[in-house]
Symmetry: C2
Subunit: 337 residues, 2 copies
Amino acid sequence: MTVKTGPARVTRKDVARYAGVSTAVVSYVINAGPKKVAPATEAKVLDAIQVLGYRPNAAARALKLGSTEMLGLVIPDNTNPFFAELSHAIEDAANDRGYALLLTNSNGSTAKERKHVRNLLSRQVDGLLLTSVEDEPYLDDVVTTGIPAVLLNHYRPSKLLPTVGVDLTAGARAAVEHLIWHNYENIALVEGMNTANTPDEREAGWAQALAAARLREGQIFTAPFSMEGGYRAGRRLADARDRPRAVFVSSDAQAVGVLRALHEAGLQVPQDIALVSFDASFQSAFTWPALTAMHQPTGQMAEAAVSALLDRESAKARNMVFPTDLVIRRSCGCRPE
Amino acid sequence: MTVKTGPARVTRKDVARYAGVSTAVVSYVINAGPKKVAPATEAKVLDAIQVLGYRPNAAARALKLGSTEMLGLVIPDNTNPFFAELSHAIEDAANDRGYALLLTNSNGSTAKERKHVRNLLSRQVDGLLLTSVEDEPYLDDVVTTGIPAVLLNHYRPSKLLPTVGVDLTAGARAAVEHLIWHNYENIALVEGMNTANTPDEREAGWAQALAAARLREGQIFTAPFSMEGGYRAGRRLADARDRPRAVFVSSDAQAVGVLRALHEAGLQVPQDIALVSFDASFQSAFTWPALTAMHQPTGQMAEAAVSALLDRESAKARNMVFPTDLVIRRSCGCRPE
């Protein structure tokens, strides 16, 4: 299984000479970039590689470059549609710059998160993207190594690292304002659970919108950021005394579960309970009814995060906060095309 | 952004001496395994690393080991719930063995797939897991390098590489037999699209079950393996003359879209159209109605694939085919708890 560096190795120079091209062109073919190579030239290089039995040596290359050309990503769970979409966008942004992506899931465990962070650092990734389960994660390891890192999906500024996130409070407020615009009064909140036990910033936005409209605060249902969590919250919501007329749900993953629980209880969305969600991931367009939701610009967030790690000029912004946009579909009570 | 190897580097030995532990213990702490370290000892090592400013050198380690301790994965799309679940399971299986995972998405493009394969090989991953968009992908690059590789989510044997997959034909047949057991007669198929344009093996299973029951073949609706693809197929299904009474859908991602289209058309599942899906991913439990589906054992498949790459003993099995199990929920017309 190991790749030994034998004696009298065939070098990139040998391949270039055999194929009648420059060593740079050989590199472009081997690394699939960054520059394009004409198909005929590519075929010549691949042929030379095969005939000569050339094997590139990534470790030697990394030593020489002082770079592994890899980024490391820690997210809670890549089966959550929002994180699936975000990690896909990060892979694309890394790829565009010739970097590969090491993906790790913390499953919402602080211990697993720290283990992954340490492991990625010891692999000397050129940058680390961390979506932490904690509000102020333990970052001494990261700072000590000098490896650039970004807190991803992180709204508040951090003392130690640049952050990339959306304005959760303003987004939640806009979502609840839309429900208020529909004239709903008893508006509940399905909130996520953070290990750190600090209230989610979306709660503040929900409360602000209600206060501004002089409405009393509805009930809060707390559940993990998952379909299963949303399902359990949805069952409690359906069974609640003084059942809410509308609900703001903190993520698409939870909203999928809430919808399932409400259908099961024989409640109609939006007729019995209206719903606005957060994320507007690809998933949100395919639920029944389709979700009205605040859209997080995952592509822009991924680009900003990767740029903060790799592009020197952009390293100045410390707290990159993107706005969310209201995507109107049916779950709120609107009837768009 | 680069990590240079400066002069008079602090070594692992220095850290061990300062912390009063063996160099092996320092390694366990740095690499977060494979052996556990007592928290007090770990704290001493982390303290020594910080005081001495030690930085592990991954490239030098890889050169010495002749191994990058990384696996590379190519899948079509990590936002598809089945591939999200499968890649999560692969990350876990790799992690258990001290390996990290490089994740790449081909987005169903042959060109992108080949680019990723070549790039992962040039990074000298210790093993490659490829879910190809083609039935017999171009593998000369892979074989030339001598890097172990597995075709993942691949049912038919390959001449060149070991394969890991489920019995698609038997699974589809069992799904359609369940619909026939419900006494539905006009049974359609929502099929996936492969670049290679060879019919999906699920089509054979669907046809076999119908033939065995002396039922005529229903209509075939072909669409990409995505929610959007399923949605478009579902619209055609809802509008079809001689509308099918039941449908076998080739993936959960498509089934989510089909359900959406049927709801939109005012059709009830299972009362108007019954549905059995394929994958039984986490997603399938949270649609409305919940999906009856053939379950692919992603955990076992991931374990088998990673083991085939890394564990010498298990390298003998060439064509690992797992059975699928029928998970009964509501979309077929059963009424389980």
